[in-house]
């Protein structure tokens, strides 16, 4: 099956500022594809080129086999879009907006169902909605046309934790219907839970495309083990282990860093010496660590 979205060598500059330098990726039928990157990395510019809202300076884009700039009618019918910034008239009511937008599409979804799923009230005026409610409405409008592909820029930014979880469930339901989804996000938990694959974008370039687990292991981040030993002992015993890269003390705690096998090695040494580890805490490398590692920290620039 050909990819649903194919972006190759996309380049886009605003005046003399290069926003997207060289971005290529493909998105397959039915997957949730995440786009992660720091503020200003070029995520929104990239997806707006895919949506046909911006004209790339170089590169080619195909969505469902269509050209986003020339096949407007066909593309807009099949592509649902949530813009990072985008508003409705302030005096428009939520129900009116959904009813209006659903009339734009050949086979719309049931807008009342969406209204309910997203916990919106039909009569509220757009201008009176809170930021999170506006965001939910914008998600509903992206889905109301029953799209084959949905591009959601900052899906849950501004939502409270409960609304965020509800939205994730909604998106999982949408994916279950076979809709292909591109998700721009800053929330690692969201990316980890929803995305099949993630493109990390940094300074207008794709650093890596991988599964969430793949990204985490790629970053090769050390484990950090912290515990309070039941008695004093020579920490040199731990420092000599090949799996361990560092040992330090903080008040009555011992902090050990090392590779994936460090925990087992440390526990074995402690057991041999009849020491128990109180208040043991192990920090695994998270997607967040991987993100920071792979997109280059400030001092690395």
């Amino acid at each position: 099956m050909p990819p649903v979205i194919e972006v190759s060598n996309l380049h886009k500059r605003y005046d003399d500022k290069v926003a997207v330098d060289d971005v290529s990726f493909t998105v397959h039928q039915g997957e949730i594809f995440g786009i992660l990157g720091r503020n200003g990395a070029g995520k929104t510019t990239t997806v707006e080129c895919v949506e046909g809202l911006r004209t790339p300076d170089r590169g080619t884009i195909s969505v469902l086999g269509l050209d986003p700039l020339t096949d407007r009618l066909e593309l807009t019918r099949r592509l649902g879009v949530q813009l990072q910034a985008g508003m409705l008239p302030g005096r428009l009511r939520v129900g009116e907006a959904l009813e209006l937008y659903s009339s734009f599409y050949p086979r719309p979804a049931d807008w009342r169902g969406l209204l309910h799923d997203l916990g919106l009230s039909e009569k509220a005026r757009y201008a009176d909605l809170s930021g999170g409610q506006q965001q939910r409405l914008s998600i509903a409008l992206a889905l109301v046309g029953n799209p084959d592909v949905a591009i959601l820029d900052e899906l849950t930014t501004g939502l409270d934790p409960q609304a965020r979880r509800d939205t994730w469930e909604l998106i999982e339901g949408v994916r279950a219907r076979g809709v292909t989804i591109v998700l721009v996000t800053h929330f690692m938990e969201e990316a980890e839970r929803l995305c099949d694959r993630i493109a990390l974008i940094d300074a207008g370039r794709v650093v890596v495309v991988d599964t969430p687990a793949g990204l985490t292991s790629r970053a090769r981040i050390e484990q950090r083990i912290q515990f309070r030993p039941s008695r004093e002992f020579d920490t040199g015993l731990l420092a000599n282990l090949p799996e361990v890269s560092g040992v330090s003390r903080r008040d009555e705690f011992v902090v050990v860093t090392g590779d994936d096998d460090a925990l087992n090695a440390v526990m074995a040494v402690l057991a041999r010496n009849q020491i128990t580890a109180g208040r043991l805490r192990v920090e695994q490398a998270s997607l967040e660590d991987a993100f920071v590692e792979l997109t280059g920290r400030k001092d690395a620039r």
Binding site: G52, R72, T76, L83, L88, Y101, S103, F104
Partner: protein
């Protein structure tokens, strides 16, 4: 036209009505002025063998209504849509932003049409002002004047960078335009030079055409041509150079 277009027009109409400013300034205000002027006995005395001062003010107030809608309501709404990303959001739908513009134009047109009928009815039933003796001529004059004004409003929207600028420029144009329609000094009492200038302005030409229709003639060619030129030229420039973002 399909369902989406009609729904869009209905929604834009509703939004225009919810925007109290347009109704207050564009409809209620000229209506109140109409009633006040109608209640002043001295304005009801004939100045020519056919017309009273009040008779002349009825079409002036009809143009006032169209001018408020076209020069202030339309540009500030549409420039606001552009500024707030409403038009951008529409670009991602199959309907596109052009039809939002069209729906706004239609909505304002319909409001102006209803207001015009209301003004004529109030003037006729309330104060015994005779309706235009040439109804067809009046209708043509009103249609062309409304088209010219909406085009100019669209042109303002097309070229200005922001909503604030649209409102400011629209309002700034409104006053001289109304002056040349004879809001403050009836055209007949203007010095000849100003009368000549007035004839080339959209509202001056509109008044000229209305005058003919009131007196029973089909409007003469020159005001109609001037209105058509304003309508076509402004619309063409607006369409060609419309700023979408």
């Amino acid at each position: 036209m399909n369902g989406a277009t009609w729904r869009l027009i209905a929604v834009e109409g509703k939004l225009s009505i919810r925007d109290k400013a347009a109704l207050v300034w564009g409809v209620a205000c000229p209506l109140v002025v109409l009633v006040i002027l109608g209640s002043i006995p001295s304005l009801r005395e004939p100045i020519t063998e056919d017309l009273t001062v009040f008779d002349v003010y009825v079409p002036v107030l009809i143009l006032f209504n169209v001018a408020i809608l076209a020069m202030t309501a339309l540009p500030s709404t549409l420039a606001g849509y552009r500024e707030n990303g409403v038009l951008r959001r529409m670009r991602t739908t199959p309907v596109g932003p052009v039809r939002v513009l069209a729906a706004q134009l239609v909505a304002n047109f319909v409001i102006a049409l209803v207001a015009m009928a209301l003004f004529l009815a109030v003037a006729g039933l309330g104060f015994g002002v005779e309706p235009p003796r040439n109804p067809l001529g009046f209708a043509v004059a009103w249609l062309l004047a409304t088209a010219a004004l909406l085009s100019i409003g669209l042109l303002v929207t097309a070229l200005v960078p922001s909503r604030a600028a649209a409102t400011a420029i629209g309002t700034l144009l409104f006053f001289p335009m109304m002056f040349f329609a004879g809001l403050w000094v009836p055209i007949a009492q203007m010095p000849p030079l100003l009368q000549d200038v007035s004839a080339y302005t959209p509202l001056g030409a509109g008044m000229g055409a209305f005058q003919d229709a009131y007196l029973g003639d089909f409007p003469s060619a020159s005001p109609l041509v001037i209105l058509v030129v304003h309508a076509v030229v402004c619309a063409a420039i607006a369409v060609r150079w419309f700023r979408w973002e």
